[in-house]
């Protein structure tokens, strides 16, 4: 391991799906043959040019890639320090980065002859992306969503249903994202022959964390090229929000071996990272454990029972984090910080006012950290943050927190 570290941060995971001590394949025996088959099929696809040709064709003509790299000039001037760029993945079809990964997994599912796709979703963005791509290919789609989230994300539930997906409200446990993932796994264990489980983030048993990272890496690969074109060099700092961590891993991965680049992941601090656990900051407020097929940092109590996270952002509301982030945290290659609900709301408002971009609450967390650090950095310091989703889905939540009645506008 030590030798690997000297050469590259990009070689993981190992053949057992480990990033250092994190990751692995902690699943029941029924699922084990399935994830081994998935791993084999993914390894084949990865080196098959026709697979990537199909991906790039759809990324270009269906998703709208490459997404722009945008110099946020007014925000830069307003903060008075570092030069701020935004990677505009909120302009993708379906409004977030989620579709980058979904396309890859569904093309793979089709190659494997699977006819039924299942997914879990929190805020509904991954569910909408999955329902969208399933509609495009005429595949049956079942989305598991915590009953609590079904209630607070009604527009996305309607979108998924319009797209022909069956949305199953999950009432087991406490009816949140982690319970939705449990129920998706229960479905998969029951329907092993025809079903493909399309996981929405860089978590779960190997090969999911690596596979989802690879599909999302288009974000960082593009950003690197675009930054070269715009500035003739690498950025100094890259910043992304983290729930499970797929948009962040997608931006970070192509930069891991560029030692001059500071990498910062921003977790959801909710009402504050303290003993009351009203947050989703697994790295800053949790400790290593095993859940949903992988070892990673988790929010848990003294007895190893998993705690519910809390965040204003339903997309960050998960008590774990992708195992590669846990590893990058422990070896110190990336820095992880947290931002509270209140700070994220401030960033949300500032972005609307200064840049004419309504951001999702998830990247608002990343932007809030940019607001903290940019003023003290020199003008020639370049920050690239991942604007990974648009805020249309969040206007009801934001209105509520700002004390505005959205029907009367007062």
């Amino acid at each position: 391991m030590a030798e690997d570290l000297i050469n590259s941060f990009m070689t993981g995971p190992d053949e057992n799906g480990r990033f250092g001590m994190f990751g692995g394949r902690f699943v029941s025996e029924t699922l084990m043959p399935l994830i081994l088959e998935l791993e084999e099929q993914y390894e084949n696809a990865k080196t098959d040019q026709s697979f990537w040709d199909e991906m790039h064709d759809l990324w270009t003509h269906y998703v709208g890639r490459p997404s722009p790299l945008y110099h946020a000039a007014r925000l830069t001037a307003h903060l008075g320090g570092a030069k701020i760029y935004m990677k505009r993945d909120e302009l993708n079809h379906t409004g977030a980065h989620k579709i980058n990964n979904v396309l890859g997994q569904i093309i793979l599912a089709r190659r494997m002859g699977k006819t039924r796709i299942i997914a879990e979703t929190g805020a509904g963005q991954h569910g909408v992306a999955t329902a969208t791509v399933c509609a495009k290919f005429g595949l049956k789609c079942v989305v598991y969503m915590g009953a609590h989230d079904v209630e607070r994300q009604a527009p996305n539930v309607f979108r998924m249903r319009l797209l022909g997906a069956e949305v199953v409200p999950v009432t087991s446990g406490r009816g949140t994202l982690k319970d939705a993932m449990n129920d998706a796994l229960r479905d998969w264990v029951t329907n092993v022959r025809d079903t493909f489980y399309c996981i929405g983030t860089v978590a779960g048993p190997h090969p999911y964390p690596a596979m989802v990272r690879d599909f999302q890496s288009i974000i960082g690969t593009e950003a690197k090229e675009q930054m070269q074109a715009a500035e003739g060099r690498l950025p100094d700092t890259i910043v992304a929000a983290i729930g499970g961590g797929s948009n962040a891993m997608g931006l970070f991965y192509p930069f891991l071996d560029d030692k001059s680049v500071n990498i910062i992941g921003v977790e959801a601090g909710g009402k504050g990272v303290n003993a009351k656990m009203e947050h989703c900051a697994s790295l800053t407020g949790g400790r290593p454990g095993v859940l949903h097929g992988n070892r990673t940092y988790l929010l848990q109590d003294d007895d190893g029972q998993i705690l519910e996270g809390y965040s204003i952002s339903a997309g960050l509301d998960y008590p774990g984090i992708g195992p590669e982030h846990s590893w990058l945290h422990d070896i110190g290659r990336a820095e992880y910080v947290s931002i509270t609900d209140a700070e994220a709301l401030e960033a949300f408002k500032l972005c609307c006012e200064q840049e004419g971009i309504i951001p999702a609450l998830e990247p608002s967390h990343a932007l809030a950290h940019v607001m903290k650090i940019a003023p003290d950095l020199p003008h020639d310091h370049i920050i690239c943050m991942n604007m990974c989703g648009r805020g249309d889905k969040d206007i009801f939540t934001v209105a509520k927190h700002l004390g505005v009645d959205i029907d009367t506008g007062s």
């Binding site: 029941s28 025996e29 029924t30 084990m32 399935l34 087991s172 449990n182 229960r186 454990g289 998993i306």
Partner: protein, 263 residues
């Protein structure tokens, strides 16, 4: 030799099939749970499988999920589960106890500490659902070294190519999961299970016990007749959920045990 090995040797000598009963530790509360567990051997149970409650039981259906939630809401912890086994052992040093659950509470306690405590308490074997052979170094190998049986699940998706991997490092018995699915779901069919059990027995001398989807004395008999024994969990736990009196629960367990023993 553990109590599990001795029990199966004795059953074999008598030409009897095994009946294994599953209950969740601490369900509906610690006191009632201990009373039920103490009554199981007298109701004909050969091996007790005790669930360790976990917030995220991914392989379990609603009945066992709710049992875990009841236990956790009542304050059940891994320590209290260990204490419960210790209390059971005060009056019964014969009946094997297998702990069944998920890895995180064990990992959280620390594997070495857990194994020492489990042995001390009088636990004989472990079934940890989310530890496939690929993760043997985590707990399976240390558990065997500590003198505990590590019982593996084999499933309908465990094909011939994979079966040897599943059987390596397995001890005590093999738990064949009769269906693809979660506990308490589809009904196990003896016609499907028989050939699968034969397939596994061709590769191992260990007893093969079948669980998942067995609810009635008739089903226990039918399944036990094509295997070395049968496990019933959700059907018993359902009675606990309905707050039936302990004697009534144990009477039903007796009928299940009689079914399996008729086979």
């Amino acid at each position: 030799m553990t109590r599990i090995d001795r029990k199966f040797a004795a059953l074999k000598a008598e030409g009897k099939k095994a009946f294994v009963a599953y209950v969740m530790a601490g369900d509906p509360d610690a006191e009632t749970s201990l009373e039920i567990i103490r009554g199981l051997p007298g109701a004909g149970v050969d091996v007790i499988e005790m669930g360790m409650p976990f917030t995220d039981p991914m392989a379990d259906g609603p009945t066992i999920q709710l049992a875990g939630q009841r236990a956790l809401a009542g304050g059940q912890t891994l320590q209290k589960t260990l204490d419960m086994v210790l209390a059971f052992r005060e009056t019964d040093d014969e009946t094997p106890i297998v702990m069944m659950g998920y890895y995180n509470p064990i990992y959280n306690r620390g594997v070495d500490r857990f194994l020492a405590d489990a042995r001390e308490a009088g636990i004989d074997g472990l079934i940890v659902v989310d530890l496939p052979p690929e993760e043997d170094a985590e707990l399976c190998i240390p558990a065997q070294a500590a003198g505990l049986n590590f019982i593996r699940l084999a499933t309908p998706t465990t094909d011939d190519k994979r079966l040897p991997k599943v059987l390596t490092n397995t001890s005590g018995f093999v738990y064949y999961v009769s269906i693809t699915g979660i506990t308490g779901a589809a009904e196990a069919q003896a016609a499907d299970v028989g050939p699968e059990v034969a397939r596994i027995k061709a590769k191992t001398d260990l007893p093969v016990i079948v669980g998942f989807g067995i609810r009635t004395p008739e089903a226990a008999e039918a399944i036990a007749s094509v295997a070395d024994g049968a496990v019933v969990g959700s059907a018993i736990v359902k009675l606990i959920e309905q707050e039936r009196p302990v004697p009534e629960i144990l009477a039903y367990v007796r009928s299940l045990a009689d079914g399996a023993h008729r086979a």
